[in-house]
């Protein structure tokens, strides 16, 4: 075993691979930090370029980008309340309030440490139990997927904010907008309004940029109007404890990080659910387990740790179905699958036998990418914090343009126009106190919920007793009901109190 590890690191520690890892992490962090863009965009652009690299270098480059993106996404979520990527949306819930208290650097450091910790744990699981977990993932049929998604959707009830009515209206509105496009079963059109652009549905990037980023930009533009040459974030207090994460603070969050990493690893191993759901589940679980759940959303650093550990853990484990079965776990893995194909490698059950050395070299490169992510993230934080402290009258107009640019790059002219409309909607949500968080969760989970529901319905032929043959799904359904009832009880208790 030791021989394999040494050989893997020897293969990964070539000049080209190391340079590519550093470059990949840097680009990933940069793209992740720009609102609207994400590591996905960077990976999509880079896949054709990797043809000129060695197979290990190419895969290390793309994986490093993916890892860098998760850290980058947290930066703008914390500093600007505009998640760089959808999976960092829950990071903003507590990260931005911390930044408003002058503890932005502390929040970013906790995000970095928990992100790298979650990622590392997920990578270790990938190395250790890749094959058995892949078999388990393969046994998760549409019914179990439906149960997991329903479980994720019960989070909506936990994040509705002050008014459950408004939170639920926003959530159902999100699910409604997710139905725009072609029906997944029959292919008939829904709310197309004679526009071919709508056949693929409303692009998530345009909706996300509009509601989360541009809505916030509009709010800040109005809030900071005529405020002179000031930043939207207060100066740090200068106290060391407000800028650093002590070992004691990190240690107290280790159970949360481990739990979130476990959630992220499990979700990452299931094809199609993605890191956004993992982030929300990780956050909600931490909130429910906390002795002070009311402090979440107001600047509780555990909220940052929980989200980042969960969404980063997806990065490693989504390779489990890819490497073992040839099934990409999410979009990033699908793009990386393209790089495998470019180099004439076919992921699947025979990969370890045929290309074992390459796979272990990629594992070693993943470890190096984690270390690079930690170092570059740590060094770059002050730089990003400095940028975020640029006077509001400069930074928000530039972010506004950046949002439009990001929308054009990801979704073209149509997306750019949509972003303006969704910015208005995002602003109205904020003005009238509707939860844009539940809206986004509804929008993201709506399509996968509908697909899994239809598949289950067809498999069951409309007979509900079919569920009795799916014990795993039943257990998860049970968890969902308990979570929902608990959340409702807590909400009522809070209101009564």
């Amino acid at each position: 075993m030791l021989d394999i590890i040494i050989t893997a690191f020897q293969d990964a520690l070539t000049v080209q691979t190391v340079v590519l890892i550093i470059l990949g992490v840097f680009i990933g962090q940069l793209f992740g930090a720009i609102p609207g863009l994400s590591a996905l965009t960077a990976i999509a652009i880079a896949v054709p370029m990797t043809y000129y690299f060695t197979p290990v270098g190419a895969l290390a480059f793309l994986v490093a980008m993916n890892k860098g993106g998760t850290v980058g996404g947290s930066i703008s979520a914390i500093l600007l309340n505009t998640p760089g990527s959808p999976e960092a949306a829950a990071t903003a819930f507590d990260g931005h309030p911390l930044a408003k208290q002058g503890k932005g650097l502390k929040a970013m450091r906790m995000a970095l440490f928990s992100s790298v910790s979650g990622d590392l744990l997920s990578d270790l699981v990938l190395f250790a139990v890749s094959a058995p977990l892949a078999v388990l993932a393969l046994r998760m049929g549409p019914t179990e997927m439906l149960a997991v998604i329903l479980f994720a959707m019960t989070i909506i009830a936990g994040l509705v904010g002050k008014s459950m009515l408004k939170g639920l209206i926003a959530a159902f509105f999100g699910i409604l907008l997710a139905t725009v496009g072609l029906d997944p079963e029959s292919g008939t059109g829904r709310f197309l309004f004679d526009s071919p652009d709508l056949m693929d549905g409303l692009p998530i990037s345009a909706v996300g940029i509009g509601i989360l980023a541009m809505g916030e930009v509009l709010r800040q533009l109005i809030l900071m109007r005529n405020q002179g040459n000031v930043s939207h974030l207060p100066m740090g207090s200068g106290r060391k404890e407000d800028e650093t994460v002590s070992w004691a603070e990190y240690r107290s969050n280790i159970p949360t990080i481990l739990r979130s990493a476990g959630i992220g690893t499990f979700i990452g191993a299931l094809p199609g659910i993605g890191s956004s759901a993992a982030g929300f589940i990780g956050y909600n679980t931490a909130m429910r387990r906390s002795k002070k759940p009311e402090s979440f959303g107001k600047g509780n650093i555990t909220g940052v740790a929980a989200t980042e550990a969960a969404n980063s853990a997806v990065v490693g484990s989504n390779f489990i179905p890819l490497l073992s079965l040839g099934i990409p776990g999410n979009v990033a893995a699908a793009l990386i699958l393209g790089a495998f194909v470019v180099h004439g490698i076919t992921p699947g059950p025979n990969l370890m036998q045929e290309q074992g050395r390459l796979v272990y070299a990629v594992f070693a490169a993943m470890m190096l990418a984690n270390a690079t992510n930690l170092i570059l993230g740590y060094v770059g934080m002050r730089f990003f914090a400095l940028i975020a402290r640029t006077p509001a009258q400069i930074i928000f107009p530039v972010i506004g343009l950046l949002c439009l640019t990001g929308a054009f790059i990801t979704t073209g002219e149509f997306g750019m126009k949509l972003v303006v409309g969704f910015a208005a909607l995002g602003f109205l949500f904020r003005i009238f106190d509707f939860s844009f968080v539940t809206f986004i969760i509804g929008f993201v989970l709506g399509p996968i919920f509908e697909l899994a529901f239809r598949q289950t319905y067809i498999l069951a032929d409309g007979d509900i007793s079919y569920l009795l043959d799916r014990p795993v799904a039943l257990i998860i359904f049970g968890f969902s009901i308990v979570t929902l009832l608990r959340t409702m009880y807590r909400h009522m208790k809070r209101r009564a109190g």
Partner: protein, 148 residues
């Protein structure tokens, strides 16, 4: 008090809008299918129906059940400013798509800076030209992602 009535009006608006979509919008814009086991309009109907019920419940709740409910009042000056900003963004998008990124981009940045209260022409010019040109250089020239 005013907030309670604003919230109730908002709930009533949501109820009426959702009802309109349920009765006219869905039949008009969701195509039927004879092959699907689950009709394509099921999920939209569930969503819109639930929104209508929740909107109606919001009216009752705010008016009769929980009189302490505050919620946000309508801040008209703030809404007017938001409308101006949306207009600026819409014009900016139009200009970007019509005349190109290097014309529309500076327009967006400069207009927003003026809105924010910046009056220093040098700062406005440097930011309004610097940011779009830098982004254009990064994406279009360096990364080969074409911008309009």
């Amino acid at each position: 008090m005013a907030n309670r009535f604003t919230e109730a009006t908002l709930g009533a608006g949501i109820f009426v809008l959702a009802l309109g979509v349920y009765v006219w919008g869905i039949p008009a814009w969701v195509e039927p299918s004879d092959f699907a086991m689950i009709p394509p309009d099921l999920l939209p109907r569930v969503c819109v129906g639930t929104i209508a019920v929740l909107g109606g419940w919001m009216v009752l709740h705010r008016l009769f059940l929980d009189r302490s409910t505050g919620g946000a009042g309508v801040d008209w000056p703030r809404l007017a400013k938001a409308a101006v900003l949306i207009l600026v963004f819409a014009c900016g998008v139009g200009l970007i798509l019509w005349q190109g990124y290097l014309i529309g981009g500076p327009f967006v940045v400069a207009s927003l800076m003026l809105f924010m209260g910046t009056r220093n022409i040098g700062v406005i010019a440097a930011t309004a030209l610097g940011a779009p040109f830098a982004l254009f250089g990064l994406f279009d020239l360096l990364l080969g992602i074409p911008l309009p």
